[in-house]
């Protein structure tokens, strides 16, 4: 027992001494510091505090400066973005809506003096508004109305054309609706009064002439570039076709229905070796229905055919054009309203052609108004075989005129027209024509 107690006491002592040795001497046994030591300590602490405060102040200043710099940079960035937008606005176009439209057309008015009647009238008052609506580069709808004041005061109102043009691709457009006849040049391109160089159509190119007027149906048309400068253009068309007119001629006037099962077809092909030279050829064929006569009176139907060639040279101040059309209708039975009976009409042939030249004058010295002047000359013939009434209208036509261009599409013109009829008994006629025309 005593033995173990001694051992325990020894171990306890060792542990205690070891523990004492491990304790920090001063904290374990604090000694009173001297005043001097305390002062030194306070001073050290104070200086450390000062240093810390200085550091804090500098840091705060740097942060403030950084903030200011950031603010300036932000302002600059906003300004730069604005400038970039402004620049973009200046170089890029304003965007275009998908559907766009244009109200166009033309109008004319004038006066005419006729030697035969020895009288003059104001007239030729015409207003043709044109409407064009386009959806992207995909479809364009175009229509034109024709309103004309007749001598008796009535207003003639007509839907000149109304067509959808579906742009299939760069070289082909599908046209559906009522369209102007693509045969020859005059009807489709030259007849608007601000484009025509004269105040009327050439002989045989107006109503009851050789030139088809319009058609209801479809067209496939376009232009194909050939090499650098040349173009081949084509129009293939299909339509309801002609009907018998009062004079026994085939009328091609855009009928909204067919009088038989036969559709008329044809078109025009033209070649432009250079952009200013065009040579074209046209063809059109359709069936006409007559009526069945008593007994053996045949035939009851016939073909109406039109073919033609045309040319245009438009370079610098010159505009030279030529066009020939031949329109025939085979023998057919028809009802003669005058005699109230069926009669057999012989073959009818209408032939019309013209050549015209227009020259825009240059400036002479200081007189710049001469540039607005355009002397024009046209000669044409309309020949008829097979209808007495129409034969009376066959004549040679001379036109000489002067156009004064107020604007590229506004003109005031004066012209002289001489008609020499092929029928001996029909008196020749001279007309003086005045016209103002404006295309818009």
């Amino acid at each position: 027992m005593t033995h173990s107690r001694k051992l325990f006491s020894a171990v306890s002592l060792i542990v205690f001494v070891a523990a004492l040795a491990a304790l920090p001497t001063d904290s374990a046994w604090p000694q009173e510091p001297t005043n001097k030591q305390l002062l030194e300590r306070i001073e050290t602490l104070e200086s450390e505090l000062r240093n810390l405060r200085d550091l804090l102040l500098t840091n705060m200043k740097t942060a403030e400066q950084a903030r200011e710099k950031a603010a300036v940079a932000e302002v600059k960035a906003i300004e730069a973005t604005k400038a970039a937008h402004e620049l973009e606005k200046q170089t890029a176009y304003p965007s275009i809506p998908d559907t766009i439209w244009h109200l166009a057309g033309y109008a004319s008015a004038g006066a005419e003096f006729r030697t035969k009647a020895n009288e003059w009238d104001f007239g030729g008052v015409q207003f043709n508004p044109g409407f064009h609506f386009q959806y992207k580069d995909l479809i364009i709808f175009e229509a034109e109305l024709e309103m004309e004041i007749e001598a008796d005061g009535e207003t003639e109102f007509e839907l000149e054309y109304s067509q959808f043009d579906i742009l299939l691709h760069d070289y082909a457009t599908l046209v559906v609706g009522k369209y102007l006849s693509p045969i020859g040049q005059f009807k489709e391109r030259l007849h608007p009064s601000w484009i025509n160089k004269f105040s009327n159509a050439p002989a045989g190119f107006g109503h009851d002439g050789a030139q088809p007027d319009s058609e209801v149906g479809v067209q496939l048309r376009g232009g194909i570039p050939i090499g650098e400068r040349s173009t081949l253009t084509y129009v293939l068309a299909l339509g309801n076709g002609p009907r018998m007119g009062h004079e026994g001629n085939a009328e091609f006037e855009g009928f909204g229905g067919d009088d038989n099962k036969n559709k008329a077809f044809g078109g025009r092909i033209a070649f432009l070796p250079m952009p200013y030279l065009e040579i074209g050829g046209s063809f059109w064929k359709g069936k006409l229905d007559g009526i069945e006569g008593p007994g053996e009176l045949l035939p009851t139907s016939a073909y109406a055919k039109v073919w033609g060639v045309d040319g245009a040279f438009t370079r610098n101040a010159f505009d030279v054009r030529f066009e020939y059309l031949k329109n025939t209708r085979g023998p057919i039975n028809s009802f003669d309203e005058d005699h109230g009976e069926v009669e057999m009409l012989e073959k009818l042939s209408l032939e019309a052609w013209y050549a015209q030249i227009a020259y825009r004058l240059p400036q002479f010295g200081n007189a710049s108004f001469t540039e607005k002047l355009e002397p024009v000359f046209r000669y044409g013939e309309f020949r008829v075989k097979g209808s007495h009434h129409l034969e009376e209208q066959a004549h040679k036509r001379y036109n000489i005129g002067l156009n004064y261009w107020l604007a590229p599409s506004a003109v005031a013109r004066v012209g002289l027209e001489i008609r020499r009829f092929f029928e001996e008994e029909i008196q020749n006629e001279t007309l003086v024509q005045l016209q103002v025309a404006y295309g818009f």
Binding site: I140, L167, V175, G223, P408
Partner: protein
């Protein structure tokens, strides 16, 4: 009777063959100087063939787009040539 039917068939076959090529492009909004130069030349060559050339300032950009598309059909002018002309007309009318 027979001929028009053959004609219609050919026309339809042609049409169907052509349709896949159709490009319904919207109008470019950024000027392309090379296209504008081509357009200026084409405008001078094409747009005076049937009537007097009108000044670019006569119509607005939108009206020109419609009118030139109208002329594309009426004048049988290839579509790419018309787009060049449109680019020229738009650039001519631009306010500096």
């Amino acid at each position: 009777m027979k001929t028009p039917m053959i004609f219609t068939a050919i026309a339809l076959a042609g049409l169907v063959g052509l349709i896949p090529l159709a490009a319904y492009s919207a109008h470019d909004d950024v000027p392309d100087p090379a296209q504008i130069a081509r357009g200026a030349k084409a405008w001078a060559q094409q747009c005076g063939r049937c009537h007097n050339i009108r000044s670019p300032s006569e119509l607005t950009d939108e009206e020109w787009l419609v009118s030139t598309t109208h002329m594309r059909v009426r004048g049988n002018i290839p579509g790419n040539v018309i787009r060049d002309i449109q680019a020229f007309l738009r650039s001519s009318n631009k306010k500096e």
